[in-house]
Amino acid sequence: MPSYDVIIIGAGPAGMHAAQALASRGQQVALIDDNPDAGGQIWRGVNNHATQPARAALHSPHITTYYQTRVIATLAAQQLLVETPNDAHILHYRHLVIASGARELLLPVAGWTTPGVTGIGGLQALVKAGMPIANKRVVIAGTGPLIWPVAAFLRTHGVHIVAIVEQQSLVRLARFGMHLASHPRKLWQAMSYATQLIGVPFWHDSQVTAISGTTHSTGVSIQRGEHQFQLACDYVALGHHLVPNLDIAQSLGCATTPAAITTSDQLATTIPHVYAIGEARGIGGLDCAIAEGHLVAAVICQDAPAIARWHHRVQTERRIATAIAATFTPPRLPPLAADTIVCRCEDVSHGQLQHAPDWRTAKLQQRCGMGPCQGRICGAATQHLYGWGPDAVRPPLRPARVATLALLYAISPTAE
């Protein structure tokens, strides 16, 4: 069985910086990611956007990378069952670092299942992966700081941005802007996005209430105060900020809240030998993720001067995380019609769910969250809509091949 000093789950900025900082101290590291390349959702490949330490991580003889690799189960005795495109492995760790990042919170609205409706980060990811977008008309709607860089990105790719529709009030957004003033680099970034988006209609205190189109999206209905109006477009990018990916931590038994894996100020979770960094520790952005990557390496290697230095840096970066959380959550939702789909995998509607007592009952009686995404989309949605908490996380964490699961049962005949 391959054994590592440290296994890092997630090859985004946090995971890559942790890997490089650990490798430079002589640790044998495995870096696992389900994407075909490192870089996470923000860099998507280690290109010239990535920092120098992140790029160096990929050339270190101390780091073994596992791409297109999913964690299927967390096992006893500090082992993970992982699945690669062609194989499955059981990997042993002395320390485990969860850098599983975040996903977009995608909330139901009438017509959101229509082809042409994507996440906001989702649309950017698809365009970076080759989706043609030039001269298309796009409405970007929802809430969150992701709206601005994605809008600027789309505009540089020749997109006609029909409108940006932000749910938050101008007062709230202005307060966030003032907070940015104490972070000069972030303020500069925000101003550069604003410059790139001159002339794009921006509606605050507004929301998309319906998406039209049958085989492809053709437009949106927007509610702004008392006013309701329609806009024609080709694509609708919808998103309500980010939620951390918690399933691996929950599978290990780590304490979590809906917003974060619970950690000490030295990044330890409630389970021994398991740490959490980056967005999984609460949405904090790139600089915070990088600082926590450095800090976790210092903590694992008990490098006291480095711990002091990076701990201070993390504290500073986490302040912006607090401001982001105060500004962009929780989103308000337009009232849903009974026939609006909530669970896309199993086509379960709001009408079928609104009187269910909890998530577990909805799963058993309506099959809500029982499809291939295993509740990754509707779980967060039903938490917002109905206040349901998560159910126990059980293996397999992702749909897996029979041969992979056979490995699980071969070593653990009593596994549930």
């Binding site: 389900d34 994407n35 075909p36 959702q41 297109q68 996903r103 977009e104 995608l106 299942t113 229509t114 082809p115 042409g116 409706v117 994507t118 996440g119 980060g121 989702g122 649309l123 950017q124 990811a125 698809l126 992966a129 080759g130 989706m131 043609p132 049958t214 085989t215 492809h216 080709d234 694509y235 789909i341 896309r344 995998c345 199993e346 086509d347 499809g371 291939p372 995404c373 990754r376 989309i377 749909p399």
Partner: protein
């Protein structure tokens, strides 16, 4: 820009070599048309772009339920969906 050819629903398509299967499908269809039918028969396609929602699952080289958004294209790859596939 380097290009390669793949087969999408039995049509030979030339696409950007750095694309994902999702990107190649979008290049071939010029929009995000349905790549699967939901359990109630509604058209669906890629949503999250990052391996979470499983809406983009297609059949690749005969293996069903592969995520188009997390699979890079490879020369000669056979991609099917809808009536041509079983995803």
């Amino acid at each position: 820009m380097a290009t390669i050819t793949v087969s999408i629903n039995n049509h030979t398509i030339t696409c950007d070599a750095s694309s994902s299967v999702a990107g190649a499908i979008a290049q071939a269809t010029h929009q995000l048309g349905a790549t699967r039918q939901s359990v109630q028969g509604m058209p669906r396609t890629m949503l999250c772009g990052m391996g979470i929602c499983f809406e983009c699952r297609v059949t690749i080289n005969g293996i069903a339920h592969q995520l188009a958004c997390q699979t890079p294209v490879v020369t000669g790859m056979q991609i099917t969906y809808g009536e041509a596939g079983d995803a």
